[in-house]
Structure formats: C-alpha cells, structure tokens
Symmetry: C2
Subunit: 259 residues, 2 copies
C-alpha cells in the first residue's frame, strides 16, 4: 500500500512552492493544549472572533461538547450523539487552531490508501519537519473512524485522559468529505500536539469528528507551510490559576544563570 | 531587604491597568531557544526586520557574539570584550524577543534593593503568572553583574551549555541604566526561557550584557502584560535539520489517539 501511494505521488509530484500573502502564512492558536486536557473546557473565545483568524481548522467546542471543525469559513460541531451542526458565531471555544488556508503544495492519490501510508507519504514530502503545516485532504473515503466527547457537566472538570471511556466512536462509511488539520513540530508539543492532528467533515456536512483512522481514494492532498505562530492565551481566572507542569531544562537554566 | 522593598511597593502601590493599542500587547519571538542553545548561533534575521516587531527587547547577536539589548528602538551589542556598540540594521540575530513597550503597571522602589528581592516583589505583583510580561527597570544601580559570550568560530558549533567557561563577566559599578527583559510562563519553556530574563544597558550605552545579579535604588519598575505571542521560525537549513528533543506526553498521546 505504501508503494502504491509513493508511486502515485511520484507520478504526480509535489508542485512548486509559491509565495503567498502573509495572512495565509499564520497558524493561529487559541489556548494551551496542556491546560485544555487538564480540564479547562469552558469556552472563552467566540466563534466570530476565531473566524477573524482563519477559515480552516480544528478545535474544541464549549464544555468539551464534541469536536470542532472549520472549513471554508464555517464552524461545525460534531457531537457525541453523532450529529454535526453549524456553530453560532456567539458559541465559544476553549481551544482552537485555525488558518486562512491556501495550499502551496498539491498532489493527488488516486489509488486506495490507508491513513498510516498516506500520512507517511505526506510527512516524507514535507520540506521542513520543523515547520508548521496545514493539511487538507479531500476525496472519497471508504471508511473514517472518528470520535467525539460528550459535554462535561460539573466542576471540577476531570482530566481529559481520565474520561477517554466517555468518547463516542463513529464508523463513517463510503462518503465524500474532507480531512482538516495540521502537522506541527516537536517544539510545540504541550502548547499544541506535535505531529498530525486531523478532523473530518463529510461533504454533506452531516458527519465528522476527531480522526482516529481512515482509508480513501481519489484524494486531493493540499498542504500549506505556515511561517508564523500567533498564540493567544485565555484571559479568565481558570487559565490564570492553572498549574502548568514545570518543563525542567538543566541546559537552559545553566545558560540563563551563567553557571 | 525584602521587607523594605515590600513596604516601598505598598506605599506606592501598583497602578491600575489601562487598555493599550494592540501592537503593545504582542511578544514577538524569533527562533526557538532549544535550537539556539543547541548551536544555531548563525544570525538569520536582520536587525531592521526585528525593529518592525518591537522597540524593546533582548536577544543574541550573529555567531553568539555577545548579548543583544534593544531599548527605545536601538539595538545594542555588548561584546565579550566589554565594549557595547550600536548594531547596524543589516546585522543579523539568531534568536531575539522584542515588544513595542508600553507599561500598564508602574511602581517605584526608592530604597536600595537587590535582584532577588525586587524580582520576588515583581513576581508577586503579576496579575497572571500564566501570562507574558515585558519588564523595564530604570534607575541607579550600585552593582550589575553581567556576562557576554565571545563569538563562535568554526562549525559544528558547540552546545551553549558546554562553553559556559568562555563567558566573560563584568562587574558594572555605580551607574544609571535600564534592565530590559521579560517574565514568561512555564508553558513557553523550551521555545523561550520561563521566568525572568533580563539584559542591562547603562544610561551612557557603554556597558551592558546578560544580567546575573544586581542591586539598585531609585528604581522605576514598568511592566507590560502581553496578550499574544508571535513566533517566527528561522527558514534556513540549519533550523530545518535541527533535531528537537521529543517532548513526550503520555496524556497528550492518549487523547490524540483516543486510547
């Protein structure tokens, strides 16, 4: 399967990078993932403000109520019930990542391919593993496995890693749709998630969620290298009082203190 | 000494926060400190471009040649020889952090105070330990201990923590001047340095460097809370090929993979 995909890429090739206006070069991130998975699920940024920063991206709806996917300027919520709805502009998010998406690299994979193989091909083709990339994959999906969390109810909210048994899983079959997401560098892990992170939205916008696995064919892969991170932090008391884990670095401390 | 400083702050008080235009709310960071201390000392951003992002800040001159301090829109280099000079606009930096500085909190410490006490007072007064702060301390300094690195020569460049014995130290006595720097949150450690990081520039702009210790009196402390981080990464091959340490987070991986 990997060979098939590679041959396919070889035939089509990666297109040349083209210069793009600067707003297409920015990864906008609201929130710090360490705080989010630590229980800061309450939304603090309205969707209308998020839309000022991008038309494409992924995030978390208010109170962990499902999964957020932004595509072509519309924000969608896939709930744990399986329902996918358009989010109001006044709805809030606790953590989101968006971009004004404009691909600088496009290639096609016509043969059937699975998640692991396709993501390996994409990763191998990235010009700079230490850069940030927005990734959009559109086409026919034989299968997409997604998940969505049900909303949290009462404070104090649990750590996200302790309520993985609350996730609802969806096996979406034979649908057109789009994978929306990012490949981010290692140095952003903790602020964001390093590596790939993809959400799905079906072409009829009725199905979606956080992607755990997929296979597809006739896929158009669009990649945008992002040159700058814009990071906004929540202003409320919950964020203010959150205890971040110390990221001890002996080398950094010695250099700072000169000894 | 701590008591003295606290009383002094108590008398003067922290002023009210005022709203500020947005360019004063941005911390601009060029580069990733983990890569810089890992040997990426070659400058890749011209000072003229850095000045578009701030008029106040700290950084590293090309080839680790001393310490960079920006104040009132001018960039200064304090060399390991002890000399401090104005940097040309075409000179390059490998790592720098700048801000358009406008204080939202101002207080005065008239009594003699030492670094540890004053920084404790400042830290205790920060509204939000998880926010980013630019800090400017102006006044009379009885003593400032600074350091500056000599330039590196041949590649491959050594890790910064392995050449701490090359630092030159300076004991600056009885001078007016300004401490320029930041207090940054824990979640930025690795991209930046968490906690305090200050450089010094004497009022006659002849002396400076990375601050290791100080005492002073008649100090004006100005603090600006920064709401947004703008992070630009170097575009060259050295950065592209740098191996960042994996920041393993089991919780993040489990959440991402849903298991």
């Amino acid at each position: 399967m990997l060979t098939t995909a590679l041959v396919c890429v070889g035939l089509n090739g990666f297109s040349q990078q083209i210069s793009a206006p600067s707003r297409y070069d920015i990864l906008y991130n609201y929130g710090i993932i360490e705080a989010f998975i630590g229980g800061l699920y309450k939304g603090t940024l309205p969707i209308k403000d998020l839309k000022l920063k991008g038309d494409f991206g992924i995030g978390a709806p208010d109170m962990l109520d499902g999964e957020l996917t932004m595509l072509d300027g519309k924000a969608y919520q896939t709930k744990a019930t399986g329902e996918t709805v358009v989010l109001d502009n006044d709805y809030k998010t606790a953590f989101s990542t968006v971009t004004f998406f404009k691909a600088d690299t496009v290639f096609y994979v016509n043969n059937a391919t699975e998640q692991q193989n396709l993501l390996e091909v994409i990763k191998d083709g990235l010009r700079n593993i230490n850069a940030m990339y927005a990734i959009k994959i559109t086409g026919d999906f034989g299968h997409v496995k997604t998940r969505a969390f049900p909303p949290v109810k009462a404070e104090p909210f649990p750590l996200l890693s302790t309520i993985l048994d609350k996730q609802q899983f969806f096996d979406i079959q034979n649908t057109e749709g789009t994978l929306v997401g990012y490949h981010l560098p290692e140095y952003l892990n903790g602020i964001q998630i390093s590596g790939f992170h993809l959400h799905f939205l079906s072409a009829d916008t009725k199905q979606g969620g956080h992607v755990l696995d997929f296979n597809g064919h006739n896929l158009k892969v669009e990649i945008a290298e992002l040159k700058s991170l814009e990071l906004d932090i929540p202003t409320g008391h919950d964020f203010q009082n959150f205890k971040f884990k110390p990221k001890h670095s002996e080398a950094l401390e010695r250099v700072e203190q000169g000894k």
